[in-house]
């Protein structure tokens, strides 16, 4: 899975060959193309940005222009083996409702997000006194698409409250996989595999 963003590389590695997957917020289609070409996955995508959608379709991918907050209800129950939401949860208006939809559409759901409790971010906020701008979260407070910042501990309690099962979890510092120990402090990104 060369060239994929680290969280996408994890997802691409874990998805079973020949399965059906929906990538919500698929961007330029990098994950879809990898799943299709390397694992013969029936991979579909949804993406908000029109230029990204056009680029995906021009690459021969099945992608529809749509909004995770409003358009997931179009899909029937359990119509995919996996519903994938990579670095998109924190940009949705209602992450709770989006998660419900993911677990309705997919038998399992991959969710990846940047961890807002990583120590550098804590440091920047504590000693800088300003909203952190980091390599992982490069936008400023007024132009960031990330309207629901979330930490790994927030996410864990969020899914525990909903009775959602964790089937797998991976933590990243840069491109490196790290252990789950103190992940909330150490990890820049988290990837969860969930099911009901």
């Amino acid at each position: 899975m060369n060239g994929l963003r680290p969280d996408l590389a994890i997802i691409a590695r874990e998805v079973k060959a020949g399965s059906r997957a929906l990538d919500v917020g698929c961007g330029d289609g990098a994950l879809l193309a990898a799943l299709r070409d390397q694992k013969q996955v029936d991979a579909r995508g949804m993406e908000l940005n029109r230029d990204n959608v056009a680029a995906c379709v021009a690459r021969g991918l099945s992608v529809i222009q749509g909004n995770a907050d409003t358009d997931l209800s179009d899909y029937p129950d359990a119509s995919f083996d996996y519903a994938i939401l990579s670095q998109t949860l924190q940009t949705t208006a209602r992450p709770d409702l989006v998660l419900d939809q993911l677990l309705r559409i997919g038998r399992q759901a991959f969710v990846s997000f940047p961890n807002f409790a990583q120590w550098r971010i804590r440091w920047a906020l504590m000693f800088g006194g300003t909203m952190p701008v980091t390599k992982q979260l490069p936008d400023r407070w007024y132009d960031t698409p990330n309207i629901h910042h979330v930490t790994i501990d927030d996410f864990r309690s969020f899914i525990a409250e909903r009775g959602v099962r964790i089937d797998g979890q991976w933590f990243l510092r840069g491109e490196k996989l790290i252990s789950a120990g103190a992940a909330n402090l150490r990890a820049q990104h988290a990837v969860f595999l969930l099911s009901r």
Binding site: R50, A54, C56, V57, R59, G60, S62, G66, S79
Partner: protein, 372 residues
């Protein structure tokens, strides 16, 4: 292949039929004027059917015999274009009901006189079934793709719903799965304009050269407005005056937009038959793909093996993006592979015929992926 009389420009075939029509009647013989481009490969697996819009014709990439203008989709169809005639065998038939050589109100009935209003009312599906007869004649079982914009998109959808095993991919541009009340309303204005023309005479006007041009021109003017965006009209004409410095306080075409519309109406009557306009607009108004499938559009596509690509334009208010999304919703519910994008273009509904490079890239990528 090259000496096969079935292939080439300006072809016409009379198929014995009969074609059983949705309205209950039968059409026999079924005459179809069509053009083909490119070469059909040995296993007939590279055929693309191109479906034209309301006032379009078979001259998709060849000069129009009356106007002398280049084909209506030379941007999309030709060597090296998205519908690449070096790779694909392209068939573009004139729909039945039209006036460019296929069976229509101008065709002779059994008594030798033109059908006129005795021609049966037809549907989009009737047009598609006639095309299927043509493909049988050409030796094409399964289409690599069916491609169409506007009414051509309705035909592409109907193809996938009617002959799911014969269509590998469908490209549906600036189209809809049903005509809305507003769509029907605009068409009714056009039809009433034609019928109110004293030359129309119940449709019997073929014998003396006095055709209902005034009515047909008004119909075209009203329809033409729906093909453009307000922004497009404003940019092109604004309130500018036509070849004059001041308003005349009369009813000449003072404004450029008036002059433009009158010209559009006038030139249209040179190349189109008023009765055909009645029949084809009726077929479009009757179109409601969900209605034909128990009220659920998804049922139209259940079990279909067809890949779909839908494109809408942000300034198209005739068949707005919401109509395409309605189709996408149904295709998702049916589990069909579907791509959809709303492109940004200033030209309104007509964007599908005009210079929108992104449209070409999308269609090109989608068609290429169909061969994988």
């Amino acid at each position: 292949m090259s000496d096969d009389q079935r292939f080439g420009l300006n072809r016409k075939i009379s198929l014995s039929g009969p074609l059983a029509l949705d309205g209950g009647g039968r059409l026999a013989p079924v005459e179809i004027a069509y053009e083909t481009y490119g070469t059909l490969n040995a296993d007939a697996s590279n055929a693309i059917l191109l479906c034209h819009a309301l006032t379009g014709d078979q001259h998709v990439a060849s000069n129009h015999p009356i106007t002398g203008k280049p084909g209506w989709w030379t941007r999309m169809v030709g060597p090296g274009c998205p519908v690449d005639t070096d790779r694909f065998f392209v068939v573009c038939p004139n729909v039945i009901g039209s006036c460019m050589g296929s069976s229509g109100p101008e065709s002779p009935a059994t008594d030798g006189a033109p059908f006129a209003m005795r021609f049966p009312v037809i549907t989009i599906r009737d047009m598609v079934c006639a095309q299927a007869m043509l493909l049988d004649h050409l030796g094409i079982g399964r289409l690599y793709a069916v491609v169409g914009g506007s009414m051509g998109g309705m035909q592409a959808l109907t193809w996938a719903a009617t002959y799911p095993t014969r269509v590998a991919s469908a490209v549906v541009i600036a189209s809809t799965a049903r005509h809305s009340a507003q769509n029907i309303a605009f068409h009714e204005v056009g039809r009433q304009a034609i019928m109110a023309d004293p030359n129309w005479r119940g449709g019997d006007y073929y014998h003396d050269g006095k055709t209902p041009d005034a009515g047909l021109a008004v119909a075209r003017m009203a329809a033409h407005i729906t093909y453009l965006s307000e922004q497009g009209l404003t940019e092109k004409f604004g309130r500018r005056l036509q070849d004059r410095k001041a308003k005349t306080f009369g009813f000449d075409a003072d404004f450029q937009v008036e002059s433009y519309l009158r010209y559009q109406g006038l030139t249209f009557t040179d190349r189109f038959d008023a009765n055909s306009y009645l029949y084809i607009t009726r077929a479009m108004d009757y179109f409601d793909l969900a209605e034909e499938h128990g009220g659920h559009l998804a049922n139209a596509f259940r079990g279909a093996g067809t890949r779909f690509c839908l494109v809408s334009f942000d300034t198209d208010w005739l068949y707005p993006t919401s109509e395409s999304k309605n189709i996408v919703h149904a295709l998702n519910a049916a589990g069909a592979p579907v791509s959809f994008v709303e492109l940004s273009a200033p030209f309104g509904h007509d964007s599908f015929l005009l210079d929108v490079p992104e449209l070409n890239r999308v269609v090109d990528g989608f068609l290429k992926a169909g061969g994988q």
